[in-house]
Amino acid sequence: MPNFTEKHPYPGKLFIVEGIDGSGKSTQVQLLRKWLEAEGYSVFFTEWNSSALVKDTTKMGKKKKSLTPTTFSLLHATDFADRFFYYILPPLKAGQIVLADRYAFTAFARDVCRGVHPKWVRKLYNFAARPDISFYFKVPIQTAIERILRARAKIKYYEAGMDLGLSHDIVDSFRLFQGSVLKEYDQLTDEYGLSVVDATLDINEQQEAVRATVTKALEGYSIKRRTYGRKKNVFWRRFAVPSAR
């Protein structure tokens, strides 16, 4: 079993991105994915809170607002475990590249701000593999708010930590809650050696920095090209496709 406190022993590579909502990390990880695929790597991508198993439950709990800090944290851990053992560990063991939009650090930062024990949440995720590189997209709170409001004009309830009763105003609550999340990320940067990216820079500048770091991490890593099992048209790729007439 992997162990979060040490380097994972698998032949694959695990790169993850972290940051508060509005830091632009999802954009960056998609650009990274595109580039890696174009370079001929086999890339697997997974994102936070997306497994079918607990998605409905999380949604229901959020809707009824009946989640406590601990059930909130455990639901995300369950979702993560489900994805980890199905989508992250197998490709890692098979020597492929896995990209994750948010990882255990999201739980370490957010759940602790919600009030769970920092030691407990770290032990909870101890089954996870430690990433090869963890990018942290660092952004001032005001920039994040502006980006979110520009993109979808609305901040979500839990994203703003409204369940904590910090403020009745959602933007205010976001500022307070995500402000404390930022502090936790700073702490995690020291604790786990996250690679900090200045998320106020232009998108392409950030991406350049990310690609440079990844290139370095891939030195000596052999490309596993996809030759088999790529949908049904793989067979025809080797022969001329007979035309209809």
Binding site: L53, M60, P69, T70, T71, A81, D82, V116
Partner: protein, 246 residues
């Protein structure tokens, strides 16, 4: 006997336990040992003394029961994912039912507790530390009664009471060549796991090979001091049905 409640591990920092008036009593034991029968009788007896009782089981929370059923149906989960589902379910009940009931002075009867989760997880993996860490937010019970049975006595009981199911037989583990062998090996392992915990977690071990009323009597002797009314332990035991393993 007003021992202060403590958390099993790291606990819930946002919910200090303070002075919970109620009593938390966990009844542990393998499948088919007769926990439910005993809990029904205990409830009667405790309520007659004027204490309000909250019964709580394993997998009964509103939040999670559907997800757990769905997961069992699919039979495709990793052990840790499964353990986390149960932990989430338990956390929901703990914070929304058990702790509030203890605050209000209820006697909480838990039909299985975290030790069942430990035993099941250990059956499916080697590292014991992780699962105990995960349940670090649990409240340590005032009393843990372990209904102990051996496999020779358990098997006929379970067959008489309607057979063995997939999970109780640990079929996901492929322990034996058929349902019966698998059930036997799995339950033997569970009994072993409980025995192993008995000393570490100070279980009160109760010999469950005996008739229902004898087991009940023992349980009452153990529980009476918590209720601070010692004389009532001799009240008659209303037996519903005779004949389970005498």
């Amino acid at each position: 006997m007003a021992a202060k409640k403590t958390y099993f591990g790291d606990g819930l920092p946002y919910r200090p336990l303070g002075n919970l008036k109620g009593k938390l009593i966990a009844i542990e034991g393998t499948d088919g040992v007769g926990r439910t029968t005993q809990i029904d009788l205990l409830r009667e007896w405790i309520e007659l003394q004027g204490y309000a009782v909250l019964e709580t089981g394993w997998t009964r929370s509103n939040l999670m029961s559907r997800a757990i059923e769905a997961a069992k149906m699919g039979n495709m989960l990793d052990r840790m994912t499964f353990s986390l589902l149960y932990a989430t379910d338990f956390a929901d009940r703990l914070e929304n039912e058990i702790i509030p009931a203890l605050e209000a002075g209820f006697v909480v009867l838990a039909d299985r507790y975290i030790y069942t989760a430990f035993a099941r997880d250990w059956m499916r993996g080697k590292d014991r530390q992780w699962i105990e860490d995960v349940f670090g937010f649990a409240v340590v019970p005032d009393l843990i009664c372990y209904l102990r049975i051996d496999i020779e006595n358990l098997v006929p009981r379970v067959i008489e009471s309607g057979g063995m199911n997939y999970w109780e037989s640990g079929l996901d583990l492929h322990l034996g060549e058929d349902l019966f062998e698998s059930f036997k090996k799995y339950q033997e392992g569970m009994i072993h796991a409980f025995d192993d915990m008995a000393e570490r977690f100070s279980f009160e071990v109760i010999d469950a090979r005996r008739p229902v009323d004898e087991i009940q009597k023992d349980l009452r002797v153990k529980i009476a001091p918590l209720l601070e009314k010692k004389k009532v332990e001799n009240a008659p035991i209303p037996l519903k049905a005779e004949g389970s393993a005498s």
